[in-house]
Subunit: 331 residues, 2 copies
């Protein structure tokens, strides 16, 4: 195991291949859910395509993020792992890293802004993560994380700009393409690009003619603009309900997406809400706005999928229902 | 087929047996979804039991009601079927009957109160049902339905007090007990009692030692009171968020439940909301309040299921999300 981990560390300085993604799948398999692929006649009728939803909302911690976190944590050499891991995040990656670390029996330290939603703080605590609060600025997050690393020797685990993370996220598409053969399209949302780049590597390696589409909110369109410009152009304070997609591409995800992704298609906030509502009402499953972005692309008329087999990666299902249930039953 | 239908009509004047339920399953199989059984580690931890959720929220029209409607519509003799079917309902049964009729190629006429929610009216129209509006009183519903029958010769299909409906609803438990062997308990919500009585016949016939529990809101506790009194005591204008459970037992469902159901356990409105929220947040699936009632029973401490295998029938997933999505994205 030690040997394997060591090899892994070396190879993962390069962009992951399908072989790396298959190896990641072997590594994380005992810890993750093999999530189901769900279909829906009504949504097929609406779009004229055969849709296959890969339900990572049913993944542990409620999001695909657990795959990448798990792969990275279990890729660490023993000595490195024993010093623990650290990240700064207020989203699904924080909970995912906490659970992955607990499964390996090591410590996860999570730097979170003091104004993080209580439900996110609770999730990290629930999985045994140790929280260090900081000011709600990127500068404060980074200096606080640096301090934690200095004090503990913990390894920083970036939420997406890491080849081990990318390889882990690529395992969702690997399962999808085992579960449904001969897809014509795979759609995935794009924020930092971990999921999209892992998906693209897997999909193109398994079937070169498949089209891989990145799905992005108009209000956080850095991937769209970056691909067009041929260089990373980060979003400046993006504002979208798809809060998981506010992050911009990194130097590891950008080149993979530029090379392998066929198109980035943008959606409006209204289309995201319509898509999310259709999924709630027709499929009876809970998806977060970032996940609805991929299905929303099919409502734009900017992608002709008539008669095609389309895989859609539902990235997660962590939705805040506080207000819904507070008012529930009132008329 | 004509012959079979005729036999069916005769036999279905008596209480259905497991054989009838198996025959119903054969009859409706080409038309229904075989719904999945879902598990959730967190809810197992909370209850100390092994829970198996039979997801009729993923059934066609979003509820188990399609099973009974389908069985009844496809049990009708040709001549009878050709005159169409009718019901008065503003709930899941209306949509279920409309779709079942469309699948057989006959007409469904649905009497609905003029103040029925637009979403329910749309659902019936979507499945091709012909709506006749009436005043929002039981008297007006019944006289309007009688008029439709007089004019068209259509057959009235009661939502629960009909042995063919009961046999159809029993097919959910039949699938569940094929999907999960050796259950110790089966829990189902009780309104009019179609689902609970069908479930009880199936479960007890397949495994005599299984416990069948009816789950009912305190605010619509007619089944609880009726079983205690040994006679039907209808609810008087019940008020619960579990709107599918406001109806009272009928003379066909009551004797089955009295004989075969081990206990009726009541839950508060608060427990229903807590249960619904846990299912949303932990399982990432959408269930209607009536469905949450069955899981809510496990939060009452009135049923000791520690270490047991417990089947829970999730009856449906039709929730009105209008207000949720209207405010979505606002902070």
């Amino acid at each position: 195991m030690q040997q394997l981990n060591h090899q892994r560390k070396l190879t993962m300085n390069k962009r992951p291949t399908l072989a790396d993604i298959k190896e990641a799948h072997q590594r994380i398999r005992p810890h993750i859910h093999k999530t189901p692929v769900v279909t829906c006649n009504v949504l097929n009728e609406i779009t004229g395509a055969n849709l296959f939803f890969k339900c990572e909302n049913f993944q542990k911690v409620g999001a695909f993020k657990f795959r990448g976190a798990c792969n990275t944590v279990f890729s660490l050499a023993e000595k490195e792992a024993n010093r623990g891991v650290v990240t700064h995040s207020s989203g699904n990656h924080a909970a995912a890293l906490a659970l992955a670390a607990r499964k390996r029996g090591i410590t996860a330290r999570i730097v979170m802004p003091s104004n993080a939603p209580p439900v996110k703080i609770e999730a990290v605590k629930h999985y045994g993560g140790i929280i260090t609060f900081c000011e709600p600025t990127l500068a404060s997050r980074e200096t606080t994380a640096a301090k934690v690393i200095e004090q503990t020797g913990a390894t920083m685990i970036h939420p997406f700009n890491d080849h081990r993370i990318i390889a882990g996220q690529g395992t969702a598409a690997l399962e999808l393409m085992e579960q449904v053969t001969d897809l014509d399209y795979v759609l995935a949302p794009v924020g930092g690009g971990g999921l999209l780049s892992g998906t693209a590597i897997t999909a193109k390696a398994l079937k070169s003619r498949i089209k891989v589409i990145g799905c992005e909110p108009k209000h956080a369109d850095d991937a769209y603009r970056s691909i067009k410009a041929g260089r990373i152009i980060p979003s400046d304070n993006p504002n979208t309900i798809a809060d998981g997609l506010k992050t911009s591409l990194g130097d590891k995800t950008f080149p993979i997406i530029r090379e392998l992704v066929d198109d980035i298609i943008l959606v409006t906030e209204e289309q995201i809400i319509t898509a999310m509502r259709l999924i709630f009402e027709r499929m009876k499953i809970i998806v977060e706005p970032s996940s609805a972005v991929a299905f929303a692309v099919l409502l734009t008329q900017n992608l002709n999928v008539a008669g095609k087999k389309v895989g859609i990666i539902i990235s997660g299902g962590n939705v805040d229902f506080s207000r819904f249930f507070e008012g529930f039953g009132d008329n």
